[in-house]
Amino acid sequence: MSRAIVLRVAREEWRYWRRSRLALVTLGVGLLIILIAIATTAVRVQTEHGARHDMQALAEARFLEQPARHPHRMVHYGHYVFREPPPLAVIDPGVDAVTGTVMFLEGHRQNSATFSPFFATALAGEFANLTPALVYQLLAPLLLIVVGFSSLAREREAGTDRLLYATSLSPLQLWGGKALALTGLCGLLMVPLLLAGTYAVATGESGGATAALLGGYALYLLIWALIVVGVSAWSSRSAAALLGLLVAWIVLGVLAPGVVASLAERQAPTQGKLRTDLEVARTLRDEGDGHNASDPAFASLRAGLLSQYNVDKIEDLPVNFRGVVAEFAEARLTDILNRFAEQRLELERRQSDAATSLSLLSPRLAMSAYSLRMANTDLAQLHQFLRSAEDNRFAFVQGLNKLHATDMSYVDDINRSANAESERRTRLNAENWRLLESFDAPLPDAAQRMDRAWPALLMMLLWAAVGGGLGCYGALRSAARVNA
């Protein structure tokens, strides 16, 4: 019985919207913007994905088709890896827009990812990218505000709530009906996102992760619906409700991200890559140069090898000492590079965590954190790319160094700059370049992503409770006043 009444209230509210030009126009424009954002983002992400995928294939083909040459030349010829946007980037491209897409892999160095998708775009305002994520996080709440701000305040302003309470309707039923009406609108708004999600699944995304992402957006819209009805319940006039809701939207939606970004930056400062590179350089000054086998830092390596093979001169070793040194030095260097790189990534992760814990301040921040993590377009995904790239780099460089050690003689190797015949003998067959592994950054499954995303989800649930409580309490309070 009570459910039927709530539904009845909701239906009346929907009828009211259909008669309101403001509500219909806003809804029409809102849906149009949503569809445009989804279509343009899907096209852009697919184009980017295709281009980077093709470039990756090209880079691998180029490496394999290199002619016979000295393996150390291939170490410096290097390889390119491309960061492909994950399928759910059609909903939330996340950090993809501001991080490099291509990275050069070579011996002795860890480079940065260069050429972000926006590197050549002109400044297009603060909202640099009209994505479904932005539209749903920022504009959809505004739409709910416009349609729903007067839901309860209007009844009070006109005194119709007294009449309703005089019948068998309870304040909570009235609140429930209005909230249900707005929830129905949330459902309507979710339809385009559902299409985008289906598209992502069709292009290889996990169904679980997509469902969790869409569920997050549904919850987020519900939070705003509850806030809208809640503020409306507390307001005695529609205009006051609108003012209150617009202030809430500005503070929670537009203002909070910038404030939290600067707070997080202060709370957990990070260190740039140049700084790390220079600190690596300082550490390396004692480590020896892998190009120069007579460097004193390699003396013990040399003594060890000589005694292992029981010979007196490095020329008599069954392996090429230069190649051994290259392999040894690369491994040691990579240890140092990785140690510093991990420190830098750890600082970035902490800054991210600081920002996420501050996300409690606004449902938009919580949603944005959740969305990035479930769509796999967050910092962790970028770090995953960097680590996969490093693994790929280390594997092919060490493979080449091994060839350098085993497939040529030391005498030829040291004479190749001066003697053309030695130079010819140190060129290895192109077949060897097949050691390059094809690049693939793994896509974490739904559970792994939820592992990073659950705090944000919890924050959203808290906000939903706050919004619901606000509305229930507001409705009861105003009804008590009416009865008094």
């Binding site: 343009t40 281009a51 940065s112 400044l123 603060e126």
Partner: protein, 398 residues
């Protein structure tokens, strides 16, 4: 009003803090680079090739004295590099920018406040100005009794606008005084703030004087805000990017690498001919007696840049053209206009970024020209040669 003042103060304070942080970080990097190069120079005194190979230089774009108000593209475009005398195209696109999640969250700096938030505050303070009096049936009475007559509401709106303007600019003035901002930049920033306030007060008046009720006015104004702050810049960006194509970054990188690496397997003349075409002064010094000589190595580094040059120039002119067209688009969007003017006078826009890149190119050219006489052995390389090593100095704006 108090909230706006507090926000402006916060925006200016964090802006100044970020500027100070970035300046500290750069000066620390300068010191570290200096130490690194001193060590490299001392250990590679024997030959100019190694000295050039191991000697890194820090290039950077310094912050202007208005940068605290508009950090602009410094969050997503690289503004510092470690450069050495090898092929530049492989180095100049490296990027060391901040935390990407924070970069997409956006920053609350003065530019954001004036371009994005201030219009919303103006809408909030004006949408109900006339409608509330009408609701209380006081409007006609007020008009009749006021000495200003029908202009009353216009004046009230102007006064509120003036207060908001004062609340925003007061912290800016303090920040400018502390940062020793030059008067020209400061005047531009203040003028553009006044422009933003005036446009939005005018828009608010145009909408509210039609007699619409408060809710309709508010939604119309927020609709205009959405249109000018998000929709127009986005739509314009899409159109501009379609009409002005730029080469893919990866294409430049691969072209340059193939050129540099192919040289190892090509006859030496294939490198030296295009090299002397650009540097005829070394025509008589390119013959080689050994399979490897440094002069050939640096010659093919330069030839690699020469081969990638058309693409690099395309990229630069494409970026310039896109930025110019966006400037025209800004005529349709006050908020975009505000951001462009502020980032331009703060030196944090695309133009200044491109200027920085050409400054790096110039410096790299000087570095090369410094080493060529030693590499081509027209000048003896000695222990004191590196004292004349060119050092990077920022080019400034203009």
């Amino acid at each position: 009003m108090v909230a706006v003042l507090a926000l402006a103060a916060y925006a200016v304070a964090t802006g100044m803090q970020r500027v100070a942080q970035q300046r500290d970080a750069v000066s620390h990097l300068v010191t570290l680079t200096q130490q690194d190069r001193t060590y490299a120079n001392e250990s590679h005194l024997e030959d100019p090739g190694s000295a050039a190979y191991y000697g890194f230089h820090l290039t950077f774009e310094p912050l202007s004295n208005l940068a605290f108000a508009a950090l602009g593209r410094r969050d997503d475009l690289p503004w510092q590099h470690r450069i050495r005398a090898l092929a530049l195209e492989g180095q100049i696109y490296e990027s060391d920018t901040g935390h990407p999640e924070l970069a997409i969250a956006g920053r609350l700096d003065y530019a954001f406040l004036v371009a994005v938030l201030l219009p919303l505050f103006i809408i909030l303070s004006l949408f109900d100005l006339e409608a509330s009096e009408r609701r209380h049936a006081r409007r006609e009475l007020l008009i009749v009794t006021s000495p200003t007559g029908r202009r009353l509401f216009g004046l009230r709106a102007a006064v509120r606008g003036a207060f908001l303007f004062a609340a925003v600019t007061a912290p800016l003035l303090v920040g400018a005084w502390l940062s020793r901002t030059d008067l020209g930049s400061l005047a531009t920033a203040i003028a553009v703030t006044a422009f933003s306030v005036a446009v939005w007060v005018l828009l608010a008046r145009l909408v509210t004087r039609t007699g619409a009720d408060a809710a309709t006015s508010a939604m119309l104004l927020v609709g205009i805000w959405l249109l000018t702050v998000i929709v127009i810049p986005q739509a314009g960006k899409l159109v501009i990017e379609r009409s002005v194509a730029v080469p893919q970054g990866a294409e430049i990188l691969l072209t340059q690498r193939e050129a540099v690496n192919d040289a190892w397997d090509l006859p030496k003349a294939a490198t030296m001919e295009p090299f002397v075409a650009q540097h005829p002064e070394w025509r008589d010094h390119v013959s080689m007696s050994k399979p490897f000589e440094w002069k050939w190595y640096y010659a093919f580094q330069q030839v690699g840049d020469q081969i990638a040059e058309p693409l690099a120039l395309d990229l630069q002119s494409g970026r310039e053209a896109r930025d110019r067209r966006m400037g025209w688009l800004a005529l349709l969007s006050p908020s975009l206009m505000v951001e462009r003017v502020l980032t331009r006078s703060a030196g944090t826009d695309m133009r200044q970024h491109l200027r920085y890149l050409s400054c790096v190119r110039d410096f790299h050219g000087r570095l090369r020209r410094f080493f060529y006489p030693y590499l081509f052995e027209t000048q003896a390389f000695g222990s004191d040669s590196l004292e004349q090593l060119p050092l990077y100095a920022p080019c400034g704006s203009g």
